[in-house]
Assembly symmetry: C2
Homo-oligomer: 531 residues x 2
């Protein structure tokens, strides 16, 4: 790739953005998706992803003309160059003056990146190896509790990115691992500062056979330290030595790093934000303990392959960039304020919650990377639940509500657990797949009915990511797809997608409340809540 100078322009400074604006309401889905043309679109508007997945965007409001305008936008906004700059270790997180390196945890897509005087890829691989060795010793019984019994449960203590991503990934592979003989330990998660969260997890496990993974980059996260004490209390009450039951995932400079309170410490650094840390030790420790390091490695391979695809400069060959660009069209041209993520896979039940953080925390910003206010909308609201459950719930509004909400379906041809049953001539898995196909068409084309109450206008855009089965590789590719999508959108909006200053004010005020240093309405609210 030639080295062009990168210019960081606002979205509304781009000539391609104006041209895109002229294409508002350019495509009528009920028109283009009907008849043979619809079938041609399904065949045409489909791009391979990593790990055998495919991104099919036939039912989004695009055609060749819109795609051309989006390609122009990608070029003018230098999206591929910016991705290369990120991969090469430039300071993309301008607010906190940091590199953005989570992709290095799973592969190396550009030259070596050195920071803090070390090669970062080497550093991340070393940490993974440490985790893998530790997990194997736990599985083999080389590391046990004081009574010499094997650990059966791993409990992650963390919040935000230390919770949502790893939890979503664990749930995504739990059934798969059980079915494939790689299920070593049950995992539980304690996140909320509310004491009932920890209490309820502790009641559900045998603490004497549990290993706790404390995740805090700084070693100072209030919720996490509070929950650690909660757990240590429980261990002490059970007559157990806490230091034989706890490991830390933290930064090398944190007070936890060299503490004797932990069996082991695995390191992350400032170049990986919480919401991007599932492929670092933050996800690595719990997932390697639960499913074994080989499964975690396959997960990383899937993510790395998708990261590589994302370097493609032809938007039609780059599903992550394409998804991002169509999202820009939907948000900034069509004016849709939210996006629903709808996995037809119970294993992905918490994947929408992870994407909610990933997307809304990255691009829910009103100033550009230079701190100047932007005059266009940025990140949408992200929400979602697995299908077919959602069909019996909020799909009513998606079909017939007054706002249009773009939909991101995910579906697999095969289930994970290998159990199924034939009812009325079809398996449950076939019913599931039939439903997602049917929904896409119902949303796109609608259906006229003499009873206006039963009439569907259609014109509700969606895409689907399809795969054979939700394997570790497929999960890695899926995760990386959305990370890359969010990154490209942040580039288009000229945001710093890698800080989260918006969460700070609440923390400061909460401390003030606890110190009883408040007045006015904050004092009144504190009184109302009896603090």
């Amino acid at each position: 790739m030639s080295h062009t100078t990168i210019e960081w322009k606002n979205y509304d400074q781009l000539a391609a953005a104006s041209r895109l604006q002229a294409l508002k309401n350019h495509v009528s889905l009920p028109e283009v998706m009907t008849g043979d043309n619809g079938a041609v679109r399904v065949a045409t508007y489909c791009t391979p992803m990593a790990a055998g997945l495919a991104f099919n965007y036939a039912s989004r409001e695009i055609d060749d003309e819109v795609l051309e305008a989006l390609a122009d936008l990608a070029k003018e906004a230098q999206l591929s160059e910016k991705y290369q700059a990120l991969l090469s270790g430039e300071v993309i997180n301008t607010g906190e003056k940091r590199l953005v390196l989570h992709r290095l945890t799973r592969g190396q897509q550009a030259g070596a990146v050195t920071a803090d005087g070390v090669d970062k890829r080497t550093f991340y691989v070393e940490q993974q190896k440490k985790v893998a060795d530790f997990a194997k010793k736990v599985h083999s019984g080389e590391i046990t509790n004081a009574a010499g019994e094997k650990f059966t449960t791993v409990v992650q203590i963390g919040i935000g990115g230390s919770d949502l991503g790893p939890r979503a990934m664990y749930l995504a592979l739990e059934n798969w691992a059980k079915q494939n003989g790689t299920f070593f330990m049950d995992a539980r998660f304690i996140s909320n500062v509310e004491p009932d969260d920890a209490a309820s997890v502790l009641k559900s496990i045998d603490v004497s056979r549990s290993l706790f993974v404390l995740v805090s980059k700084s070693g100072t996260t209030l919720e996490t330290l509070t929950n650690e004490s909660f757990v240590k209390d429980a261990l002490a009450k059970a007559g157990l030595d806490a230091s034989r039951h706890m490991v830390a995932v933290t930064s090398e400079t944190s007070p936890l790093a060299s503490s004797k309170d932990y069996l082991a410490a695995f390191f992350m650094d400032d170049y990986i934000g919480g919401r991007y840390s599932s492929t670092s030790c933050v996800g690595g420790a719990v997932l390697s303990l639960a499913f074994g390091p080989e499964v975690f490695d396959r997960f990383l391979q899937g993510a790395a392959a998708e990261d590589k695809l994302a370097t493609e400069t032809d938007i039609r060959k780059n599903p992550d960039l394409l998804d991002a660009l169509i999202g820009i069209y939907e948000r900034n041209v069509q004016g849709y304020p939210s996006t629903a993520v709808l996995p037809y896979s119970q294993a992905l039940s918490r994947f929408p919650a992870h994407l909610q953080q990933l997307d809304m925390e990255s691009n829910g910003k009103s100033v550009n990377r230079f701190g100047e206010p932007v005059h266009y909308v940025t990140g949408p609201v992200i929400f979602g639940e697995p299908g077919t459950n959602g069909q019996h719930s909020f799909y009513q509004l998606l079909h017939q509500g007054t706002d249009i909400i773009p939909l991101q379906f995910v579906g697999f041809r095969n289930n994970q657990a290998g159990m199924d049953v034939v009812i009325q001539g079809s398996t449950s898995q076939q019913k599931l797949c039939a439903n997602v196909a049917a929904q896409i068409m119902a949303f796109a084309c609608g259906k006229k009915d003499d009873n206006p109450n039963k009439s569907f206008a259609g014109g509700r855009p969606s895409s689907i990511i399809v795969g054979d089965q939700l394997t570790p590789e497929a999960l890695g590719a899926l995760l990386a797809h959305f990370e890359n999508k969010v990154m490209f959108q942040g580039f288009v909006w000229n945001l710093n997608s890698f800080d989260q200053e918006g969460v700070q004010l609440g923390k400061v005020l909460a401390k003030r409340v606890l110190a009883h240093e408040t007045d006015g309405a904050l004092r009144a609210y504190s009184d109302l809540l009896n603090i």
Copy 2:
């Protein structure tokens, strides 16, 4: 109450709606919530709810003038009269020509209602009594499995309203019941047609000691019947007689009602929609089995008391009506497209998912109750996760995103499980409460900072429902509050909030896919998914 004639007018036909429109951006939260005035607002804009809860709306964008305009709207739209008509058994569900009677499952707020030749309150109470007797026999060991062992687990098989509400209510009271000695049986839920859902539940329980509650009003819901077969297969494989392990919750006319395949059948009817059925036998069976009928009864009491409050014609004394009206102002005047529900209570982890169905399925409509298109926005997108978890996730966008999203907080002064720990001078529960107070103020007032990246504009409206503890009564009141809110908003928008025709088209098309009766894009999608 005098009998005035009820007129069903569209929102944009109301004179009060125009007057309300003139009050757009009338209140600046950073202004009114600062200093002593803010404290006065917290004290003033607070309305008692049932079960000791309070609805505090100081940080929503209202003042006395806006409230007066909202009171005018309520009066002109005859909201209280319409509620009375509903309570009296009028055909409010015009699409399906049905009465709307879910409130009769928990109390009688108006005169007797007769339908199908019976007094409906009597009918619902009879069914509850049947459920209570059955649950007591299960708990006492009078009803056991074939080996004479007590049942230890209850598994609800249902989808949509037969799943989301009961599941959310079960999780809400699980810790409370354990702490209060009223925890009789573990509950699990099977909903998704995806076979992995049932497989994973079945692997986690002892089927020989499990009682399955099959919930299907018509006895024909595809997902539910499929999962029933799945479960029957598993029972048969374990050498068990399925009919000794299953009960049905269904309508009297369904094929399940008199089947010998079930230990018992409890009845619901067409006057209670799925999303409103948590207080009927749909919630009653699983909750009475899990926590005992007394707890279920206390839950009903809380809901009934809130229903009664909702009959108040003074909007300042009616928290449900007030919340509805302020929501109308936010949606139709201020133009906010979504609302977040943020319970600071891990027990309410699935309550937002229930509200998502309740609200979006009820009011996600584009035609009025006469089937005529409406020319204003109706139901918003509803999403949410418990705090403090959400704070470490999507709150970034809520604080600093380009769209404003009204927030509905819920918080309790005390936790449920009775375990807590003091760290840095405060308990976890105090930290939790301090965080919600702090967040409300951070959203309302924001904070200027020289670094624009750390600057918060504020002006982000929220309200909070506060209580001492999440008890069965409080949960009932909370549930009824939102049901009533959604009802009043549906009245303002002149919608039929009690049908869900928007879910039908997908079902029809899915059947066509399974029968291989497709062409064009639907055929192409079916091929893509290997059906």
